[in-house]
Amino acid sequence: MDRRQFLKTTTATVAAAGVGAAPWRSAQAQTGPIKIGLLAPLTGVVASGGKEMVEGVQFYLDQVKSEMGGRKVELVIEDDASNPDTALQKARRLVEQGNCHMLIGDLLANTGLAVANYVKGTGTPYFIPIIAADDLTQRARIKNVIRVAGYTASAFTHPLGDWALKQGYKKIATVSQDYTFGHEQCGGLSQVFTEGGGEIVQQFWHPLNTADFSPYLGQLAELKVDAIFAMETGADSTRFIQQYAAFGLKAKTPLMMAMNGTDQSVIRTIGEEAEGIISPAHFAEGSDNAVTAKFVKDYEAKYGKIPSLYGFSMYSGMMWIDAALKKMGGKVEDREAFITTVLKTQLDGSPLGKVVKFDAFGNPIYDVYIRKVTKRVDGKFWNVPTQTYPEVSQFWKYDPETYMKQPPYSRTFQGIKKA
């Protein structure tokens, strides 16, 4: 047995012993609280989403009285300012100065990727319920970066492509924000839709923070397509939905959007214009599932608004971590064991009302809803599921190996099948 092998086996044995020993050791030896570093954009372009992330985490901690896996939890919140350099600096601060046992959070992919690259070196467990960059659970996995209660960007638009085919749509145009999250969501739809015989007539890419969509809407109106797919987030989405309606396109061409497009954080500020938009997601606040309905009711009672994906995802992420910590008696100091335990843990109490598990690549498998924006009795708008695709893999129906051989979705590669 060479030295390396010896180290490996010893670590494994010690880790296993640690896990096994945990239940009766948890009463003693646990010194101090579990420190969780939360990174959220409290300032900058996505600040409103960031605040809901914090709410989601605090909502969970309030419910468990700030105790996870039998230990007190100390939450340290830092503002990543929607900026990757700041995110990196704050992550360093949380890990090196704050001695946090784990990091959770970040909203924008660039901030998440910067922090992921940093923790690759330190080995700190980093949980990303919001960061959706495909490759973090595909081509470029980092062991200690775990997508608890998160999702890959293209995972939900694959089924949407299938759904669009079943509606009899033949020609679609897409319009999307020009960055990775947009490329990936658009790519998922485009690949499935064109491989099933549909045609992507044209794709428009616009920079983030586009104030005026009329140049795009004008061209879209000319195209005479069966439906339009729009991938927008935040304020862009609000403006897009309003201008789409103002242009008179709403009455003519059905609109499909990516999940963030009709998220509560967007549609709670607009009204009728959003009604009827279709989007795919694992979470639908208008679901009649009893568990989801209770979650939405409690959240609304506490914060006075219907929960968004941000609040929901962070809440579920914390719940998932808690479930893993309970399993190992709160022994968060043993990082190796902690990471392995999280990956093996399934989430029973999710607000989705269903059990959620990881696939072999550390990506949660969800039932994907096709949702429709509908008016609630009290006049507020929310997403109501109309159809369910059960247990959708991040690789859709493709073989993971083959799928990962194709390049990641980008502006130049959309997986579009040549007719």
């Binding site: 503002d79 990196l88 601060r93 924008l108 992919a109 660039n110 910067a114 960055y179 130049t412």
Partner: protein, 321 residues
């Protein structure tokens, strides 16, 4: 006419004995920092030095040639991009990447210089700002190469500099060399010409100096130093994204220079320390730290328009008198 250029034989590398002593003491004191501070604080100190170099490079132009550039963040960022790209994508060694990064920044600076040297004042400001925005636009949109909004990641830092203190000492050594070089540069006859241009461009022209050429060289040299800072930043972060070349970066280094004191050169380090400390200390108390930063600037501008170092100098000389 065989008199040597520096008449005082007691000078050491162009410094008086006292200046050399002070410089040595500062470097030695700075070298002790990792022994007393925590890892995270050492990281911050490293960042202070990197941005100090950048702010100094801006000061060469602003303080000595009277041209404030709002494009130095972009020049700095070009170097960062090139270093990350050449190590992570093209597979060069960190040393080669470092050289390539600095060269790229110098090249970009010379292009900026060609376009901007014939202007001054607010026009120079706007032109450099616009050029910087072009770089930012390219980094954002040329997704295949720059990774777009997501930026690029890679293990840029050489293995021997992986620990916080090792990297700190390397940056300190670099900063010392670069600062000395810049100090010599602004005190050289060439540097004096730049000062002449700052004070009266028309007089220098009538004395027969080629003003645009001098400014061109001054800008390019300043860009070279900004490139050094950018390359170090690439190794510090192992990551680059458009925010590194954004306008905010350019503005920040100008603010650091102003806070430290325009034309004081070493004030840049004080300014960079002040701003980075503010960012990190205040942000742990309130998320409105940018507001505090803004108020601080207003106060500095009202009570110490000559910057922290400038104010200190003024106070000291008053006492001496």
């Amino acid at each position: 006419m065989t008199m040597p250029l520096s008449p005082n034989p007691s000078r050491l590398a162009g410094m008086t004995g006292r200046a050399a002593l002070i410089a040595a003491l500062v470097v030695i004191a700075a070298a002790g920092v990792p022994l007393v501070l925590s890892n995270y604080q050492v990281g911050l100190a490293t960042e202070v030095m990197i941005f100090g170099i950048l702010a100094m490079s801006v000061d060469i132009l602003a303080g000595f040639a009277g041209r404030t550039s709002l494009g130095h963040g972009a020049i700095f960022g070009v170097s960062t991009y090139v270093v990350v790209y050449s190590t992570a994508q093209a597979g060069f060694s960190p040393a080669t990447a470092f050289v390539l990064g600095v060269l790229a920044a110098t090249a970009v600076a010379s292009v900026f210089a060609l376009l901007a040297v014939r202007t001054s004042g607010v026009y120079f400001l706007l032109l450099t700002l616009a050029l910087g925005m072009i770089i930012w636009g390219i980094c954002l949109r040329w997704t295949q190469v720059t990774g777009g909004e997501n930026g690029m990641r890679g293990d840029v830092r050489p293995a021997m500099l992986l620990s916080h203190s090792a990297f700190y000492w390397a940056v300190l050594a670099g900063a010392a060399v670069v600062s000395f070089a810049m100090w010599r540069f602004v005190r050289s006859p060439f540097g004096l010409t730049l000062r002449g241009i700052r004070d009266s461009e028309s007089r220098m022209r009538s004395l027969g100096y080629n003003v645009p050429l001098h400014l061109f060289i001054g800008f390019t040299v300043s860009g070279f130093f900004a490139g050094v800072a950018g390359a170090l930043y690439a190794m510090f972060n192992n990551f680059v994204s458009p925010s590194t070349v954004a306008l905010a970066q350019s503005v920040e280094c100008v603010l650091m220079m102003i806070a430290g004191g325009v034309g004081t050169l070493f004030g840049a380090f004080i300014g960079s320390a002040a701003i980075i400390a503010l960012e990190n200390v205040v942000s742990s108390y309130t998320e409105r730290w940018q507001m505090v930063l803004g108020i601080t600037f207003v106060l500095i501008m009202i009570f110490a328009p000559e910057g922290i170092i400038g104010k200190l100098r003024a106070i000291l000389s008053r006492k001496v008198r």
